[in-house]
């Protein structure tokens, strides 16, 4: 071998390397974005802030990046509020998959960071991971977003919280119906599961409460993070003459951006997406985890526990309980529409609004509930929803 050629790298090797880089980048989803470090740089409160006692250590776990403009960002914003309280210590991990990885993360947070309560926020963390760890660490409290607590079956130290954000989607429906010129709305959902169906139905019922002939076309993408399919769905809905889009996927970013690009309107979900669609954004349903997490942190600070029953096992609520808020109205929303939305919002506030009324039919014409029986938001029947209301174009089956 010629000594001068010792470190020679052939063109073939370079090409091979570049191909490998690309392939790895694609498969490992290197492009899913990073969370800027400065977001997390808040220092934990000094012990003296809590009156000389140890700070309350809480752990938050997210399934995706913290700046996804969606589900994870909403939770991370809530955690940031808790962090700012001054007497808490917040540890966070983002992009933790729903496998043994989350068990290890929870274990590390408990053993290394000495957290007293964990908030694993993704639905898939619940069974079997949280259930397993809750048995291993009976003194740690686990609060889960959306999980079902079953008396006698679920470990005592597990609590569940979730909000009726479909109320916000009902209001979005009103704004969408009033702004739409074509009378056709579009909804991009991840999977036909109860949480998603409920948002579709409430959105449609809100729209039809002001314009009874309006329709919602639904497309399911099949998974929580499918940016390409979401863009295709948004484009095909726009092609069909639909002029207001909304969605229920992990990150609404792509849908909002596509709607803006196509010059149609959109309603946000999970978090505030005004920045993504400054012209077409009407309003949106945002989680308000700040309120909920602050309440939990205060209860934990006071020494209350879910094991002793001083923190309820199941916490559910809507606008009144501070689980959601509405995004600021965009420029396309008329004053009259704003007033209509605010009126309906006031009814949610005083609890007089019923979304699912007794005479409701599904989109095949079948009556849904026993005649005249109104379903309140708390009704567990609604958490098992497997139908789409009249006015929705789409099917639950895949």
């Amino acid at each position: 071998m010629d000594n001068r050629k010792r470190f020679y790298i052939s063109r073939r090797q370079v090409i091979r390397g570049l191909l490998a880089t690309t392939a790895f980048g694609l498969t490992a989803k290197l492009g899913t974005g990073c969370t800027p470090a400065q977001n997390q740089a808040t220092t934990p409160a000094s012990p003296s802030a809590g009156g000389g006692t140890e700070p309350v250590a809480l752990g938050f776990i997210y399934v995706g990046p913290k700046d996804d403009f969606g589900y994870n960002q909403a939770h991370a914003e809530g955690a940031a509020t808790v962090k700012g309280l001054g007497w808490t210590k917040v540890v966070e991990e983002a992009s933790v998959p729903e496998t043994t990885a989350v068990e290890e993360t929870m274990r590390n947070m408990i053993e290394q960071d000495k957290v007293v309560a964990l908030f694993p926020t993704s639905f898939g963390y619940f069974d079997p991971h949280i259930l397993k760890l809750a048995v291993d660490y009976p003194e740690v409290q686990f609060f889960h977003a959306g999980g079902l607590y079953e008396e006698g079956k679920t470990p005592k130290n597990v609590g569940s919280y979730f909000g009726y954000i479909d109320e916000a989607m009902y209001l979005c429906g009103i704004a969408a119906a009033q702004t739409s010129k074509t009378g056709k709305l579009g909804f991009i959902g991840a999977k036909p599961i109860p949480q998603v169906l409920r948002n579709i139905n409430s959105f449609t019922l809100g729209a039809r409460s002001v314009k009874p002939t309006i329709t919602t076309q639904v497309i399911f993408t099949g998974d929580w993070a499918e940016p390409v399919k979401e863009a295709q769905a948004a484009n095909s809905l726009a092609d069909q003459g639909i002029d207001v889009l909304t969605c229920h996927v992990d990150s609404p970013k792509v849908v909002m951006e596509t709607a803006e690009k196509r010059g149609i309107f959109c309603c946000g979900y999970h978090a505030d997406q005004t920045a993504l669609a400054p012209k077409g954004y009407l309003t949106g349903g945002e989680w308000d985890w700040s309120t909920i997490y602050t309440k939990y942190a205060e209860m934990i600070k006071e020494g209350k526990t879910v094991m002793a029953g001083s923190i309820p096992h199941v916490v559910r609520g809507g606008l009144k309980e501070g689980f959601w808020k509405l995004s600021a109205f965009g420029p396309a929303v008329s004053e009259e529409t704003k007033k209509q939305v605010e009126d309906a919002k006031a009814k949610f506030m005083d609890g007089s609004m019923v979304i699912y009324k007794g005479n409701l039919k599904d989109n095949t014409g079948k009556a849904l509930f026993a005649a005249g029986k109104d379903m309140t938001q708390q009704d567990p029947e609604l958490e098992k929803m497997n139908w789409l209301v009249e006015g929705v174009i789409g099917k639950v089956g895949s």
């Binding site: 470190f7 290197l30 969370t35 470090a37 933790v96 590390n108």
Partner: protein, 362 residues
């Protein structure tokens, strides 16, 4: 006597990957410095989180166990000259097969159920990758592309089955198959929190190594991988070899799927598709398709993955940091491939009395 002259090339195959690892740690340190963290603190934390104590090492092994089995799905066909990246699909299909068997055999004894699930996982994953081999051998379809595309088919099939025919109606917001009974689950190795999947992985890697390096079957496969025309002329049954190796490769990944179902989740759902397949490709390439090296590399990668948490919690680094680290290691190891045979220090001195070649066998 020949071995005496080959220590330098053996040293080369150890020193170059290790050197690549050191270089990638260095580059990663620069990255951490740019992101505002102290690189030495980061190295310390990575070590602590991955290998620092028995408890954290268990975490590393838990993450490593699916990677060992998954990596064989790429490593075995690579010896035959095939680049197969269908690991993810084979894991998913293996998991689905295992659940189907587990539910069908539900009322028999736990041993029968576990055995049934393992066989179902092995066979279904094996057939899945064997289809890739068949497409390659009989129809000339590029095996890399077809195996990659079959991943998507497998995931779609999983989503269809757990959302439809196999769906447990009580799994509302995360559609899943019916659960396997607790009594039929594969447990933990006594005294640890590591499930038996780790043992399966190590045993499979040892068997694969023996099969490839120490049997005539393995020799035939390596010959066909070296020069397929020569192998045909020598009368080797290339088609049969392709089918057999692909089946074995797929069955390893299928077993990984079975372990995920039977030791972790207890049912089939979208969590089966968690990226172990893609990480397995990485392991196979770093291990240079040597099954024994794959066990070590899997442990190393498990350590890297389990350090992801502490990088976020203690060093306030972004969540993608661990992916950056993983990517750096992968790239630098791949590039280090080009350095083989370029250092004089690793050249075996030709024995003075013999004239036989002593080419570095790669």
């Amino acid at each position: 006597m020949i071995n005496r002259y080959q220590w330098r090339s053996t040293l080369e195959t150890i020193a170059i990957p290790l050197g690549a690892l050191v270089v990638s740690l260095f580059v990663f340190g620069i990255f951490c410095g740019l992101a505002g963290a102290n690189p030495f603190g980061v190295y310390g934390s990575i070590y602590q989180a991955a290998f620092g104590s028995w408890s954290s090492f268990q975490g590393t092994l838990i993450r490593a166990s699916p990677l060992m089995l998954s990596s064989l799905c790429t490593a075995l066909p690579a010896r035959l000259g095939l680049v197969i990246i269908g690991n993810e699909g084979a894991i998913v299909i293996g998991g689905v097969g295992a659940v189907a068997a587990g539910l069908a055999l539900e009322n028999t004894s736990p041993l029968v159920v576990q055995l049934g699930m393992a066989i179902a996982g092995l066979v279904s994953g094996g057939l899945w990758i064997m289809a890739v081999g068949a497409l390659r051998h009989y129809r000339g379809v590029n095996e890399t592309i077809s195996s990659l595309l079959m991943n998507y088919i497998a995931i779609a099939l999983l989503n269809h089955l757990v959302g439809g025919p196999m769906k447990d109606p009580t799994s509302l917001n995360k559609p899943s198959s019916f659960p396997i009974l607790d009594i039929n689950m594969v447990g933990q190795i006594p005294g640890t929190r590591i499930h038996y999947g780790l043992l399966y992985g190590i045993i499979a890697c040892v068997i694969a190594y023996f099969l490839i390096q120490r049997t005539t079957f393995g020799f035939a496969a390596r010959t066909a991988g070296g020069n397929i025309k020569a192998a045909r002329i020598a009368g080797l049954p290339v088609g049969k070899l392709t089918m057999a190796i692909c089946f074995l490769a797929g069955s390893c990944a299928g077993l990984a799927g079975m372990v995920e179902v039977a030791a972790v989740h207890g049912k089939a759902n979208e969590s089966l598709n968690a990226g172990y397949g893609y990480s397995g490709i990485l392991v196979a390439f770093i291990a240079r398709h040597n099954p024994l090296a794959a066990t070590l590399v899997a442990v190393l990668l498990g350590g890297i993955l389990s350090s992801g948490g502490i990088l976020q919690r203690s060093h306030q680094l972004p969540d993608a940091t661990v992916l950056v680290f993983q990517g750096l290691v992968f790239l630098i190891v791949l590039f280090s491939d080009s350095l083989y045979g370029k250092f004089d220090v690793f050249k075996d001195k030709p024995p003075t009395t013999l004239t036989t070649g002593n080419e570095v066998s790669v």
